[in-house]
Structure formats: C-alpha cells, structure tokens
C-alpha cells in the first residue's frame, strides 16, 4: 500500500488521522521488556553484520588481486579499528545465531510461554558474550 495519504485527500474518510492507534511496542508507552528488546536486537545485529561482511569481501577481493592490494585491506582489517568492528560483529553474529535458534524452536511449537522465552533470552545473551570471549581468546 502507498504511504498514508494527507488529511483531506480522501473525501470519504476525513476522520482517519484522529483515530486512536495501538502504541508501538518500543518507545515511551512501554517499559523495556525482554521479549521486545531481544526481538529488535535480533534484527539490528543481523543488519549490522553487513559492515563486517563487506569488509571480509574486500579482504578476499584484495587477496585475489595481489600482494599490494592485500596489504592495504589486511592492514585495515587487522588495525585497531578493524579489530573493533570484527569484535562487535562476532558478538552480533552469536547473538543473531542464538536468537535465530529461538525462532526455529518457536516454529516447532515449543517454548511459546513468556517466562520460558524470557529465560532463553537471558541465557542466550550471556551465551553470546561467552562465545565471543571464547572466539577472541582462541583465535
């Protein structure tokens, strides 16, 4: 559907802007909840992984191009700034992965109670941090 028409554009429904709306789950109307926050962060982490992905694509293209190009890309990716991006992206990856698994569990009809879902969210948040630390130490 097209964007919401300006008031007065449609003769038949001039009251359309004055109707009460259900408030969006994130914002001034609700306290932060584990359910809504873990949901939006799944989306944010997924989208933010584009940054590290494009950096890794650049690294592969540079490696295929030759030693000089590789030195530039490799120098950036192993600099403190590149390391910072990779560190947060590793966390984002594990977060997105663990909360993606929750979607797969939900789709099987399990763990649909709010308290179970919240407990998973808390455990997965801790798990994503631990996995990130593990990867940083091992690699």
């Amino acid at each position: 559907m097209a964007a919401k028409p300006k008031k007065g554009t449609f003769m038949a429904d001039n009251n359309q802007d004055n109707r009460p709306l259900s408030p969006f789950m994130i914002g001034q109307y609700y306290r932060p909840q584990w359910t809504s926050m873990s949901s939006i962060f799944t989306r944010i982490t997924g989208l933010s992984l584009l940054v590290a992905s494009l950096m890794i694509v650049w690294w592969f293209v540079a490696a295929a191009s030759g030693p000089e190009a590789f030195a530039t890309a490799n120098g950036f990716i192993t600099s403190w700034f590149g390391d910072l991006i990779l560190f947060f992206s590793t966390w984002a990856m594990f977060y997105h992965m663990l909360f993606g698994i929750r979607h797969l569990i939900w789709d099987s009809g399990r763990m649909l109670e709010v308290d179970q879902s919240e407990m998973y969210a808390q455990a997965a948040l801790v798990g994503s941090v631990l996995l990130t630390i593990f990867v940083v130490i091992v690699l």
Binding site: A2, A3, V57, L139
Partner: protein
C-alpha cells in the same frame, strides 16, 4: 480526490500470499548458516593476520575455500531476504521498492565479488 475509504481499498485483497514461502526460505537458510558460519569463523579467524603467501596457500585448499564460498552465497541471500522484511515493516511505496531493489543489488554483487575472488585464489 478519492471517494473510497481505506477499508474499502483494502477489502478483498487478502494477504500478500507469498509470506509462507519467504518464512520457509529464512528457516532453510538459517539452518544452513548454523554450521557454515561456525566453520567460517573458525577457518577465517585462523588465517586472518597471516602473511599474503600463507593466505593464498590456505584458500587453495578445498575445505576452507568451499566453506567461504557457501557462507558468502547463503549468507548474503539470507541477508537480502531478512533486510527485505525490515524494509517492508518500516517503509512503503516507492521508497520500499527502491530499498528492496538496492539491497538485492548490493547483496548479490557482494556475494559475486567474494565468490569470484575465492575461486580465483583457489584455481
């Protein structure tokens, strides 16, 4: 000036009708990415920081190269579909169409660049 109400414009259209397909696609690619991404983090993390000649030798081996190719292929496909859901949730009209086309161009270009590069290193 239009004379029909929002409800009348929407009535009878039904759903988009391809939602199930999209959802199933996300499920399939997400399950595929579970082992792929773990293997990619371990293999890419192991070689990152090594000198040029070692990196080239590493990606001439079949297993690291195939893990990287599959991760790029499935990963960017998953990204394009996931980003599309986000775009559809928050935008409409021409903005929505433009963003979805843009995300697809970016995702598949990035995947093509990466895969071509890896194949070129490997062969």
């Amino acid at each position: 000036m239009g004379f029909i109400t929002d409800r009348k414009r929407a009535a009878g259209l039904g759903s988009a009708k391809t939602g199930t397909e999209h959802h199933w696609h996300m499920m399939v690619t997400s399950v595929a990415l579970l082992p792929l991404v773990l293997m990619f983090i371990l293999s890419f993390g192991a070689i990152l920081g090594s000198p040029y000649s070692e990196v080239i030798a590493y990606y001439q081996r079949p297993f690291p190269a195939m893990i990287a190719i599959l991760t790029m292929l499935v990963g960017f496909n998953h990204f394009a579909h996931g980003a599309r859901s986000t775009i559809e949730d928050y935008t409409g009209g021409l903005t929505r169409k433009g963003l979805i086309i843009g995300v697809n161009c970016l995702s598949y270009s990035a995947a093509a660049f990466a895969i071509f590069a890896i194949v070129r290193i490997a062969l």
